[in-house]
Amino acid sequence: MGGPCTQADARTHPDFDNLDRGVLFATVGGVIFNGLEASLPGILLTITATILYGLARNRIANMDAFENMDTPPTHLRIEVQYFTLCCQWFASRQLRDGLLGDLVDPAIGGTPETARHYLRETLCLATWTRAKEKILTLLWLDRHL
């Protein structure tokens, strides 16, 4: 037995991967069985429940990370609170800091339009990449990342 487990440890504990894996397999099973029953609402409900679980899980894992944050200047007219909220639910603190740090580049942060376009586009791409990475990892296919 190891030492006492803190709340932060619990959120990144390997057992949570097993929980996520269980949810993923239950979803795949749910989609297959609802498909056999030709129940589109059943399939959609199963997928919706899984997405909600995934988002809540990511938000809980990010809970302590979003403190003492730098904010971009107001002249770039970026809705930082909204952007931070998106990162908390869909991404991570590291991604938030990375993308905001990229605004230092004149080609990206030169005008409010280029800055907002960059943040929106890259956050969408990164969210998709994270979801894909998570699913592949849970299916033991992480060597294909």
């Binding site: 730098d70 971009p72 200047p73 002249h75 770039l76 991570s92 590291q94 991604l95 800091d97 990375g98 993308l99 905001l100 740090g101 990229d102 605004l103 230092v104 580049d105 004149p106 990206i108 942060g109 960059y118 586009e121 890259t122 969408c124 791409l125 990164a126 998709w128 990449t129 994270r130 990475e133 992480d142 060597r143 294909h144 990342l145």
Partner: protein
């Protein structure tokens, strides 16, 4: 933190590890994308930070926040410290293992 034994690097991880090893200074995400643009395998802005985060969790890279602004930033300009990445000995070992494996592939299979 304890890490499991060194695993094989994915293609994106290998490109990042290669660029970090060749650099004399720690690099930030956007710079890694720029440096990869001259090679055959280009890093994408949508994958770079996700991959760096994964590599950091695996203990292949470490990161620290920039301590001083880049030269083009003037006093009073907008500046958020960027995260600079460095390859760890574990990352170096993983890259060396990969290069060793690639070197064993017969030449006619590698040439395009």
């Amino acid at each position: 933190m304890d890490h499991p034994p060194v695993k094989k690097l994915s293609l994106t991880e290998a490109v990042i590890a290669h660029l970090l090893r060749d650099s004399t200074i720690p690099l930030f995400g956007l710079e890694l994308i720029r440096r990869s643009s001259s090679g055959k395998l280009k890093l994408k802005k949508g994958t770079i930070y996700v991959t760096l985060e994964r590599m950091e969790k695996k203990g292949l890279v470490t990161s620290e926040r920039e301590t001083s602004p880049p030269p083009h930033i003037k006093e009073g300009d907008f500046y958020i410290p960027r995260r600079l990445y460095t390859l760890t000995p574990r990352g170096l070992q993983a890259l060396a293992l990969l290069e060793e494996a690639v070197a064993q592939i017969p030449g006619f299979l590698v040439r395009s």
